[in-house]
Amino acid sequence: MAPEAPLRPLLARSFAILAAERPAAWARLGDRLRACPIAIALGEAERFVLVAGPSGPLLADEGPARVWVGLESSTVRDLLQGALRLDEAVAADRLRLRGQVEDLLTALDCLDGYVHLSLRSAQSAGLCGELLR
């Protein structure tokens, strides 16, 4: 079986597309993230932190976080394909979360904003297709 494509480069391209296409909304999403950096562990292979940059969200190698999210790449694929809902992923322990409830809700709010922006971008839809191929 071919190794799965790493998520981080695709996410970085998606961030660049959204920053260019919708700079104002992208900056607002960064503001939401400012008080709540999110550390993501994708299996054992990929670890990074979502932080607020000067013009929107950025991917950092490391840094302090208020929310920790752990999942496998297969869970990402199932979520994006609609085969699994977020609540189901948490209940099935396929999405592991840690943080204060207020921060977890902020992280969910950031995810909501990111998905809404991505749904408005044909280029982002292409990246999603690339990940799922």
């Binding site: 609609g82 085969a83 909501d112 408005r120 044909a122």
Partner: protein
């Protein structure tokens, strides 16, 4: 054949004279236990000079209570739009006389050649509120002369399938103050030749109906039309089961799992001097399509597979029959 020509009204419309606009062609086919929905849609933004600003091609197949779907977003910059054909990268739709051909490539590829078996009906300038309007050219019964679709578990041949088709265009954007419900019903038995289509357009909150109508066809012609106060369309119950498919699937991350205010069925009663019709629809499996509305919200289009019971009385001639169809309900999520 001339009465059934699909291109008599000038074929495809293209960019509206001013402002934002939408145009889409919708097909729904049934063959045995398979329901297939195909939609090609184009959108124009105000002030843009491109031939097409956004293009989407959607295929949904429902069989045995399960759905599969594909949403293609071909390059709008490379779209070619003529009076009788749309080419969107590997996808093509053409209207010639009474024949509609569709070819879709990529996920869930298909090829369809459909012929009109009824004359089309146009509802002109249906009000969507705030001056926005929708034109709706409807052809509730077509025959698939030749066709196939490739599903994940194999090819389905669609020769002889019955189909519904409509072509819509208007100067409006999703997210404005409107909602709609429309549906068609075709007979359960292949040897029956009736068809029903109905629609109701209202405000976004569904507090007010702006326009409604129902058409009943039989014997290859329109037998009865009901509009306005001749018609009562009531939603019944609530759809409890989650949609079997969300397109694009990632939209499911921000949507509640259940249908947003989608009823469990509809009852339609129509009465005018010398004619009456009663239609009872029960909702079955449902797919939903999320379309960005403005900068933040989503317009959700629910495609609800229905089973139907109809009773018609036209000047003493009665028909009682079972049918199947699709009812589409538009709802809004977020801002």
């Amino acid at each position: 054949m001339s009465g059934r020509r699909l291109d008599r009204l000038g074929g495809l419309r293209g960019r509206p004279a001013a402002g934002a606009g939408q145009e889409w062609l919708h097909l729904s086919l049934r063959q045995g236990g398979l329901d297939l929905i195909v939609n090609l849609s184009l959108a124009w933004q105000a002030g843009s000079a491109q031939a097409v600003d956004e293009a989407r091609v959607m295929v949904i197949a429902g069989e045995g209570g399960r759905f599969v779907g594909a949403l293609h977003q071909p390059s709008a910059a490379r779209a070619r739009l003529g009076p009788s054909a749309i080419t969107l990268e590997g996808h093509r739709l053409q209207i010639v006389g009474d024949t509609l051909t569709v070819e879709i490539s990529g996920a869930l590829p298909l090829s369809l050649t459909l012929q009109a078996t009824l004359p089309p009906d146009l509802s002109h300038r249906l009000p969507l509120g705030g001056g926005a309007t929708l034109d709706w050219l409807v052809l509730p019964r077509m025959r698939c002369v030749e066709g196939w679709v490739d599903l994940p578990d194999g090819r389905r041949i669609l020769d002889g399938a019955i189909a519904y088709h409509d072509h819509n265009w208007g100067a409006f954007s999703f997210g404005q103050d409107f909602s709609w419900e429309w549906g068609f019903v075709l007979p359960e038995e292949a040897d029956q030749d009736w068809a029903i289509v109905f629609s109701r357009l209202g405000d976004r909150a569904q507090h007010r109906t702006r326009s409604q109508g129902l058409l009943f066809y039989q014997g290859g012609r329109l037998r009865a039309a009901f509009t306005g106060g001749e018609l009562q369309i009531e939603a019944t119950g609530a759809l409890r089961r989650a949609p079997g498919l969300t397109l694009p699937p990632a939209a499911g991350l921000v949507l509640p799992p259940q249908g947003l205010g989608v009823p469990g069925g509809w009852t339609v009663r129509a009465r005018a001097p010398g004619r009456s019709l009663s239609l009872s629809l029960v909702a079955g499996s449902t797919a939903r399509i999320a379309t960005p509305a403005g900068d933040e919200g989503l317009t959700l289009v629910y495609e609800v597979l229905t089973t139907a019971h109809i009773e018609v009385n036209l000047h003493g001639a009665e028909l009682r029959a079972m049918g199947r169809g699709v009812t589409e309900a538009v709802r809004h999520h977020g801002a």
